[in-house]
């Protein structure tokens, strides 16, 4: 593929945090209706009732299994500390091999083990546009062109905010919300991973 395709522009489906994607957000997401699989045997009214029960009683989690049928509910409320904070993977004891710069000249970030730089806590309340794919982040259509957006730019749902290159495909990313760009988390030309915050939008 390195040599095969010329640059083309594609549009990639993207999910933002506003419109919760039930499965894609993983364990740390907070949607209570995340897990139940709408199998024929599930009675939706019953489920609704279960959830109500959960909320009324301040339950965090509920699991039910029955002959191949299993329900598990977890309430979100707030960023659940037990999920990731309480027990992160133990950090490795030796930093040396991690911080050593790659000899390959790759654009690997200096703090590997996680490509993403996370949005700081002061950015809470902002709408975050996340990267829908792994790739390289570009703020403009070509090296000499103007950036699609800058801090202070107003964006609409269909405004292109950046391009993410993956396998030589240039994927236009649209805002899918409206508001003002107040944060840009990624440098031009930097690699980004799935779910990495790109822009902070103030509505």
């Amino acid at each position: 593929m390195k040599d095969s395709e010329s640059q083309s522009v594609a549009k990639v489906e993207r999910k933002t945090r506003e419109t919760v994607a039930p499965e894609s957000q993983g364990v740390r997401e907070r949607n209570p209706s995340r897990q139940p699989k709408p199998e024929p045997s599930v009675n939706m009214d019953e489920l609704r009732e279960l959830i109500a029960l959960l909320r009324e009683n301040g339950l965090a989690e509920f699991e039910l299994e029955r002959e191949g049928f299993r329900v598990r509910l977890r309430r979100g409320v707030e960023y659940d500390p037990m999920e990731t904070r309480a027990a992160p993977a133990p950090s490795t004891p030796t930093e040396a091999p991690k911080t050593a710069a790659s000899a390959t000249g790759s654009p690997a970030p200096s703090h590997p083990g996680a490509l993403a730089q996370t949005a700081a806590s002061e950015d809470q309340g902002l709408h975050i546009i996340e990267s829908p794919i792994v790739g390289t982040f570009y703020r403009s259509r070509s090296p000499n062109a103007e950036p699609f957006v800058k801090t202070g730019s107003k964006v609409e749902h269909d405004s292109v905010v950046c391009i993410i290159e993956a396998m030589k495909l240039m994927n236009e990313i649209t805002a899918e919300t409206h508001g003002e760009v107040v944060k840009i988390y990624v440098e031009n030309g930097q690699p980004v991973e799935y779910g990495q915050p790109l822009f902070g939008i103030k509505k």
């Binding site: 499965e23 993983g26 993977a89 390959t104 790759s106 590997p112 490509l115 794919i133 799935y194």
Partner: protein, 466 residues
């Protein structure tokens, strides 16, 4: 590096769980940098921590992350890796993925794409292996197209026969047929299952061998036509065609039979131009006749038992071979010392086999002589519900099989996993089973074992009885 000038500086591991950790461990020993890819629920996974670099490539479902070829290739290009190790499962036997790697000038650590494709089609593989001189079970060499044709073939090879999916694996699309009047219904269900599972409803027929052993031969082949085998693994302890426990060596293989089966596998490798590590799976009938079943063109879960008795590092050899190094061993270098057993510890209810994901609240591993544990979990880890339930492999090694069993028993007794259910209690019972201790096992062992445990196990019974 003697040949090929292909020494790797950096490898991407397109996998998760214990095998991703296992590959990273060897890369570290070889001084090769590693890149982990992971889904967003796997951020806290140890393979992410152990790797030098890591990228989140998608959401939890495998199809959007660990099977997401564009995301993996993108990551490989961004991090400028030399090679990709696919582990087992996921993309390990995808000839398409191997091809894309080749097209992108990224070395796929495994055999050539064309060989993967050949061995991935069961009918084609049988034909090729028959041509290469391996004994195969009597049966149709082509997918059957009608019930009439099937009936004729079944009469030729003699009942009982087994109907198998051409694209299959894992017991799906398989039915044993003991008489002509069962054949029509079996063909239909098997084909439907095969179509649902593999998007290919083709099925073929084979003679059904009663109470066979599942014996497999590990091979290592380089890119210059050199090949050796590392002896056999006994993998008859299976439930629903999923291996639970493996051993090396087998109690029933004489040195002569080992040499014969090994030579047959090595010869077949040379015929098809195989390179990398690989496994030939055979059925061994009660007269010690062996029949080729299929070939796995990748590292296997149970490779560790072979490593224990041979002191070889199979992953290291995979990487060396992919780097273009010659094999460097001859068959005479093979030394098999003692006996090794592996128990797969799954996050499952040990009685119902229902998955048991969740948070591990207490975790303690066995140590001491002759005990190896490959795992990616730890105290506080949340076992996600999205992937394979195997969370650890416990391997014991001792001078004799009896000692290896005693060692496994004590290892499992002192192993602590709380917060989720695991198959440890099941393995403890197997260690005490008189038939198992006597080495009197076959692929029917677990069914009998579970029946005698008073367990209802309808799906397994269904799969192998009719």
């Amino acid at each position: 590096m003697s040949a090929g000038n292909r020494k790797f500086r950096k490898i991407l591991i397109a996998n998760r769980g214990e095998i991703a950790c296992r590959i990273i461990w060897t890369c570290k020993e070889m001084g090769i940098r590693t890149v982990a890819v992971h889904s967003d629920v796997d951020r806290d996974s140890l393979h992410v921590r152990y790797a030098d670099e890591a990228a989140c490539i998608g959401p939890a479902p495998s199809a959007q992350s660990y099977l997401n070829i564009p995301a993996i290739i993108s990551t490989a290009e961004i991090f400028n890796v030399d090679a990709i190790h696919p582990g087992y499962g996921f993309l390990a036997e995808s000839s398409y993925f191997a091809e894309i790697c080749e097209a992108c000038n990224i070395k796929f650590i495994g055999p050539k794409a064309s060989v993967i494709r050949l061995m991935g089609d069961k009918v084609e593989a049988r034909r090729a292996m028959k041509a290469a001189g391996l004994p195969i079970t009597p049966g149709s060499s082509e997918p059957v197209t009608s019930e009439e044709e099937a009936l004729q073939i079944a009469r030729e090879i003699g009942f009982p026969v087994i109907v198998k999916a051409a694209a299959g694996g894992g017991g799906r699309g398989m039915r044993v047929v003991r008489s002509a009047d069962e054949l029509g219904a079996a063909l239909e269900t098997a084909s439907t299952e095969a179509a649902a599972a593999f998007k290919d409803g083709s099925v073929f027929l084979e003679r059904f061998i009663d109470k066979p052993r599942h014996i497999e031969i590990q091979v290592l082949a380089d890119e210059y036509g050199d090949c050796i085998h590392l002896g056999e693994r006994e993998c008859s302890i299976q439930r629903r065609h999923q291996k639970l426990l493996e051993e090396a060596p087998s109690t029933v293989l004489s040195p002569q039979l080992r040499a014969e089966m090994g030579a047959a596998a090595v010869n077949a490798c040379k015929k098809i131009g195989y390179s990398s590590a690989g496994t030939f799976e055979f059925l061994l009938d009660q007269d010690n006749k062996y029949y080729f079943m299929e070939m796995n063109t990748r590292i296997q879960v149970e490779h560790a038992v072979t490593e224990m008795v041979t002191l070889a590092d199979i992953v290291r050899n995979q990487i060396r071979i992919a780097e273009g190094e010659p094999l460097g061993y001859t068959q005479d270098d093979l030394m098999i010392v003692g006996h090794a057993i592996e128990c797969r510890i799954n996050a499952e209810n040990p009685e119902t086999f229902a998955p048991s994901p969740g948070r591990i609240t207490a975790f303690n591993l066995p140590g001491g002589p002759g005990v190896r544990v490959d795992t990616y979990v730890y105290a506080g880890y949340m076992v996600p519900p999205f992937y394979d339930s195997m969370i650890a492999k416990v391997i014991t090694h001792a001078r004799t099989r009896d000692l290896a069993i005693a060692r496994m028993k004590r290892a499992l007794e002192v192993m602590v996993i709380e917060g989720i259910k695991t198959t440890i209690p099941l393995h403890l019972k197997i260690m005490d089973d008189p038939k198992f201790r006597a080495g009197d096992i076959s692929t029917g062992f677990m069914e009998e074992f579970l029946a005698s445990e008073g367990q209802r196990n309808p799906i397994s019974a269904n799969a192998s009885r009719a």
